[in-house]
């Protein structure tokens, strides 16, 4: 049945926020295209997520369970999703713009002979042609582009933390379709041998309500210990600009921006970050941006709502003290 198919992912027994964002997008597409919303859920035992997907807007759920689908592996996911698409025949496939979706998208599009659209921030039907068109950033966030489909179907990755997550409707139900995917170890061209976690405060950057972030102006790894302490006090996560991750002061997985994570916290605190467009592209969903920088001309002040010109370390250290006092009350 034509429609929109969303790839659902889970973490710690819940649907990820990425999934809820995609479902919100799919529900908007349903209004425009008058086609149903389907979700694909892959894993070993995923039955418990099916009602949650219905409640968040899925009309159909394609459930594929296989031992080789425990955790993301590119070849297995591409094969399984391709088999689901052959069954579901979607017009639009929505994937999250994360490490997984960015890898899967082109591979799936290739196998489906589909169009691929990267990191859309919005979409609409072109009034003249009735064709679906996507809005996305270009040139490192300096420009916005509108791309119109010439070929269906389309596989698109959504820029994360752009769409508001779908809300739950109690009692909403749908059709569950089990797909027996054909998948063998010989299909898998890569093997995971080790996974290392690097989150500083135990708070996931993508879900954090407060993000404390540092850039070139932090001048070294020691500076990030101060920012980690501030993040601890605020129960937030720590991030960094590319300048800081490329310098090796903090791990690459902390990078926020076009290449790294998209964040949309209530509060984004930028210390010693000049504000290159590639970085700003990753924080544009933030509700409040506060910038501290010694350079009053730094571009970060053009996107911040609150700014301080001054030495980041003195400000951050004092802020830790004040926040401790305030939060102890």
């Amino acid at each position: 049945m034509p429609g929109t198919l969303v790839l659902a992912t889970t973490k710690d027994g819940r649907l990820t926020r990425n999934t809820l964002e995609l479902l919100a997008g799919a529900r908007r597409l349903k209004e425009k295209l008058a086609e149903p919303v389907a979700a694909a859920i892959l894993g070993t035992e995923v039955g418990s997520y099916v009602p949650l997907l219905f409640a968040h807007g899925a009309d159909q759920v394609y459930r594929a369970e296989h031992p080789l689908l425990e955790g993301y592996q590119g070849d297995a996911y591409t094969l399984a999703l391709h088999q689901i698409c052959e069954r579901a025949q979607p017009t639009v496939v929505l994937l999250p713009g994360d490490v997984m979706g960015r890898e899967l998208g082109p591979r799936l599009a290739y196998r489906l002979q589909a169009t691929f659209v990267a990191e859309f921030i919005d979409f609409d039907l072109d009034q003249a042609s009735g064709q679906l068109q996507f809005t996305r950033q270009a040139y490192g966030g300096k420009a916005v582009a509108v791309v119109q489909l010439r070929v269906n179907p389309v596989v698109a990755t959504a820029k994360l933390r752009t769409l508001e997550p779908a809300t739950q409707e109690e009692g909403r139900t749908g059709e569950e379709i089990r797909v027996d995917v054909v998948l063998e170890v010989s299909h898998l061209k890569t093997r995971l041998i080790e996974k290392v976690q690097e989150e500083a405060t135990g708070v996931n950057l993508g879900d954090a309500k407060i993000v404390v972030s540092g850039g070139r102006g932090v001048h070294g790894p020691e500076g990030f210990r101060v920012l980690e302490e501030l993040a601890q006090v605020l129960r937030g996560a720590v991030g960094a600009s590319r300048a800081a991750t490329d310098a090796g002061w903090v791990p690459p997985s902390w990078q926020i921006g076009q290449t790294g994570r998209n964040v949309s916290p209530e509060l984004y605190l930028a210390f010693g970050i000049s504000g290159a467009t590639q970085h700003v592209a990753g924080i544009s969903g933030s509700k409040h941006i506060v910038a501290v920088n010694t350079d009053p001309e730094a571009p970060i002040f053009k996107v911040a709502q609150l700014g301080i010109v001054g030495d980041w370390k003195l400000i951050a250290t004092k802020l830790i003290e004040r926040c401790k006092e305030l939060t102890q009350v």
Partner: protein, 266 residues
């Protein structure tokens, strides 16, 4: 070991907003006085390849699809340490989408001979579709992962370190293998030495056309593109930053904390 690095030449993405213009007719960035460079993550990919060559010996070939100006990017790759370079310069490729470019690259890689490792940047500095590596891996039918920062190769086995959202993974695969390279402190692109720049200037770079690669013309060019770019514009940003003033950093920090408290953010 043979390593192919696919590179793209773009207008320097670091140019400030004041120097950034879009041509309303072509819907593309106007070059103006801005220099052309190797797309930043492609330069990281070159660095990874050249370090592998230095550590265990390899032949590194840089391949690019582009116009005549792209020769400069390929010479730059050779001055960094690439042994050979190939330019695919075919007017019929103009307007191709990522699938068309990946197809041309795959054909060029196959024509260049057997290779063990193919590296690309994880995203281009202009459009950042991140699509070419995936399409290329599919086209060649080989293993692939993205966001790789480090690579070890031994006896036909590759171990790559790849960045994921909450840390990193070590992934093992057989060659031939494709990795899209992201950056970390180990793979910042080196500056070429003057002597190597002069040596690269003298080297010949073969230029291949569609006919040399036996390209199916139905798969390339604007007519094969699956999307039409209908508009590109510079968004108007309206944001007013309230500067917090004070005589000392302590005073500024205290005022900030109070403001954040008022906004119920802390």
């Amino acid at each position: 070991m043979n390593i192919v690095v696919c590179i793209k030449q773009i207008i320097d993405p670091e140019v400030p907003m004041s120097q950034f213009k879009i041509d309303p007719r072509t819907k593309r960035q106007v070059q103006g006085n801005n220099p052309l460079v190797i797309s930043p993550y492609d330069a990281n990919a070159l660095e990874v390849a050249i370090q592998l060559k230095e550590k265990q010996g390899a032949k590194v070939t840089a391949i690019s699809v582009g116009g005549a100006t792209t020769i400069a990017a390929l010479k730059s790759a050779m001055s960094m340490g690439a042994d050979e370079a190939i330019l695919v310069n075919e007017p019929l490729l103009a307007g191709s989408d990522q699938q068309g470019i990946a197809y041309a690259l795959a054909k060029a890689i196959q024509k260049a001979g057997a290779c063990d490792l193919i590296l690309t940047g994880c995203e281009s500095g202009d459009w950042a579709d991140r699509a070419v590596p995936g399409f290329l891996a599919e086209e060649l039918g080989i293993g692939y992962v993205g966001y790789v920062t480090r690579i070890k190769v031994r006896d036909g086995q590759v171990v790559v370190r790849r960045v994921v959202e909450d840390g990193y993974e070590l992934i093992e695969a057989e060659t031939p293998f494709l990795a899209a390279i992201s950056s970390d402190e180990t793979n910042t692109a080196r500056y070429a030495k003057l002597r190597d720049i002069m040596a690269a200037a003298k080297k010949m770079i073969p230029v291949w056309k569609a006919a040399d690669l036996g390209l199916d013309l139905e798969r390339i060019g604007a007519s094969a593109a699956r999307v039409a770019i209908t508009d590109v514009y510079i968004p108007v940003k309206e944001s007013r930053c309230e500067m917090i003033e004070g005589n000392t950093p302590e005073e500024k920090a205290a005022k900030l904390a109070a403001r954040l408290r008022d906004l119920k953010l802390i």
